[in-house]
């Protein structure tokens, strides 16, 4: 058994797009204990054509630190064999990637739970804020936080 210190935890906050396949390969190559990999990709929707772009603001330094805390908690709780979380900032148009989470584990439920846990905490705890730019040029606005996201996180605290 690998000890926790040997489990890869990859955290990045970047303007550039990411390559899910390359990140998955880098995280999981050569570990023959991995039987399940779950990847989550979050994308910018067009909201029925009303959205021109999202602008993602973040708190440099804290964003990375908070995502790392969440990822390390996930490794511990679900005995993951690897975790990666990459979050973009800046301007994103519909169809563009926003966030990538990869969880690897011996069995599928741990991998699903690990990726889902990281997303639920990331949504409510990682210091990122979305501003919407509307397609019709009307005033843009900050996205409101959702109660449903708080409830999704609280589910893990029961």
């Amino acid at each position: 058994m690998a000890v926790s210190a040997e489990i890869p935890v990859v955290v990045r906050v970047q303007r550039a797009d990411f390559d899910a396949a390359a990140e998955t390969a880098a995280l999981t190559a050569r570990n023959r204990q991995i039987g399940a990999i779950v990847t989550f990709t979050g994308l910018c929707r067009d909201e029925g054509g009303s959205l021109a772009a999202l602008e993602l603001e973040h708190y440099p330094g804290m964003a990375e630190a908070e995502i790392r805390r969440i990822c390390e908690a996930a490794v511990e709780r679900f005995s993951l064999q690897g975790i990666a979380a990459i979050h973009r900032f800046g301007r994103m148009e519909p169809g563009e990637n926003i966030v990538l989470v990869i969880a690897a584990a011996p069995h599928r439920h741990a991998a699903f739970d690990g990726a889902s846990f990281v997303m639920d905490y990331l949504k409510t705890s990682a210091p990122f804020w979305k501003k919407e730019h509307r397609a019709d040029g009307s005033e843009s606005g900050w996205v409101d936080a959702k109660d449903a996201d708080d409830r999704a996180r609280e589910k893990w605290q029961r």
Binding site: A65, K123, W129
Partner: protein
């Protein structure tokens, strides 16, 4: 001097990204800080009007409003997060 940083609509309403402030001795907690800032001008009053929704981080870790700010190097104020 304590470094304050602001994000999203808190930043927009206060009108700056960061500043260094000398805080009076009676400002001991994050809640005290919010109350103090609201005495510094209308832009702070507007930005921090609904105190309960303002999130606070001390040296890049989330804290409750009751938390002491003693020794803080950097205090961040921002709205609820909407990443992911």
């Amino acid at each position: 001097m304590t470094r304050l940083v602001y994000f999203a609509w808190v930043r927009e309403r206060i009108g700056r990204e960061e500043e260094e402030l000398e805080l009076p001795g009676h400002v001991k907690t994050a809640a005290d800080l919010l109350k103090h800032l609201k005495t510094l001008g209308e832009e702070y009053e507007v930005a921090l009007e609904h105190e309960n929704v303002i999130r606070v981080a001390i040296d890049q870790e989330h804290v409750e409003h009751g938390e002491s700010i003693e020794g803080a190097r950097e205090i961040a104020l921002f709205p609820p997060m909407t990443g992911g």
